[in-house]
Symmetry: C2
Subunit: 218 residues, 2 copies
Amino acid sequence: MPQTGGARRRVGRPAAAVLDQAGITAAALRLIGKDGYDGLTMAALARSLHVAPSALYNHVESKRDVLLLVEDHLTALVDVTAFAAEPWESAVRKWAWSYRDVFAEHTPLIPVIAVLPVTDAPQTLAMYETVSAGFRAAGFPEERIVSAIVALESFIFGSAYDVTAPADIFDSGSMAESTPSFTGAVRSLAALGHEKPADVAFSLGLEALIAGFGALRE
Amino acid sequence: MPQTGGARRRVGRPAAAVLDQAGITAAALRLIGKDGYDGLTMAALARSLHVAPSALYNHVESKRDVLLLVEDHLTALVDVTAFAAEPWESAVRKWAWSYRDVFAEHTPLIPVIAVLPVTDAPQTLAMYETVSAGFRAAGFPEERIVSAIVALESFIFGSAYDVTAPADIFDSGSMAESTPSFTGAVRSLAALGHEKPADVAFSLGLEALIAGFGALRE
DNA sequence: CTAATAAATGAATGGCATTCATTTAGTGGT
DNA sequence: ACCACTAAATGAATGCCATTCATTTATTAG
């Protein structure tokens, strides 16, 4: 049943197409924003588009395809503008923070992205092109560009998960006495009173990577 | 139906308990080794233990619990021995490679680990204790220890995904002409003929992090 | 001895992605 | 103008999944 309220569409091809990939992507994003990734089911997606679930399969091959559409849409939101206007260090810094922030809200996509051939994701490919051109212009040896980007990306994806971790993730509970070193370190960090510990760790790692990679430039 | 062949157990509590958490963990690991994480279903797990699926719920609360048991078991396999015997740099290096190697085979656990309160995972907590003690002994300022470990872990988790990526992940296909910088960088890396590009990126990032963090020591 | 608890079975339950037969509408070729 | 083909919708399965529950039997605590 495509619609609960309102006149339901009669069987057969409608005069004007109801669905397309852009509409499916937009509906998926709305759904994710409202109910999270648990709420993103093919049935719910169909319902939000006033369509039967099977109709979706005329436009995507699988749910993974939907996630791919979402991923590519989100990648286009990552800010790469600094590569055209700023020195390499600050361009990388802005890109990395933006990249992490976008996907921290969408960690269920990370397993999809990580093994996604870039051919299937034009916006993602476009991001890589801009970033690698930035590295090249900054004097990076060509054969290290991809490895450096991959390393940064790995750090970014891992850090995106970290953003979603519960605040008390390092509470050692009843084991505190048997883990004095770790418990002390956790308390000592907490004493600094940072609002977002994930940001501190991300900044620390990112600056180390930027400094280390910066030294590779010729 | 608990068993397909053989005499099936009659209804009611058996004289000796059939299941316990250690047995469930071992069976889950066998199953994952044989059929991967897709093959790890509560039904398959029960079948491999000659038990009805519902019997599992006397020993774990949910499938997530099973993944947690597996995760904690695997963490115990991560090599932290170098922290007792070697300089900080090489200890971190060995730990990080070992950690990545263990979880590269188990990437579906990463979303679970990333948000897992350490209270629920004693082996994981033990690893943190050893590692943080190593950082402390190496002269790390206490309030930076946790952030540095988190940053390294983020990089490690992201890199574990990278290991599983298909070899042709960066093949830009028909878009090659419109992405000259990226395509050139990919070709240039390929020309080096490394067997495992993921290892090159991991090494590059890890050495940058070690160098950057090493400078924090007092 | 008896009540409570623990550990098993087996039969649901509801949700999920996906497939398929069917219907209807547009399209390209002769 | 006709006809075959393709595209896009419906609605009814299908099979798998994690989880729950009533029931049975055995052990354990008081």
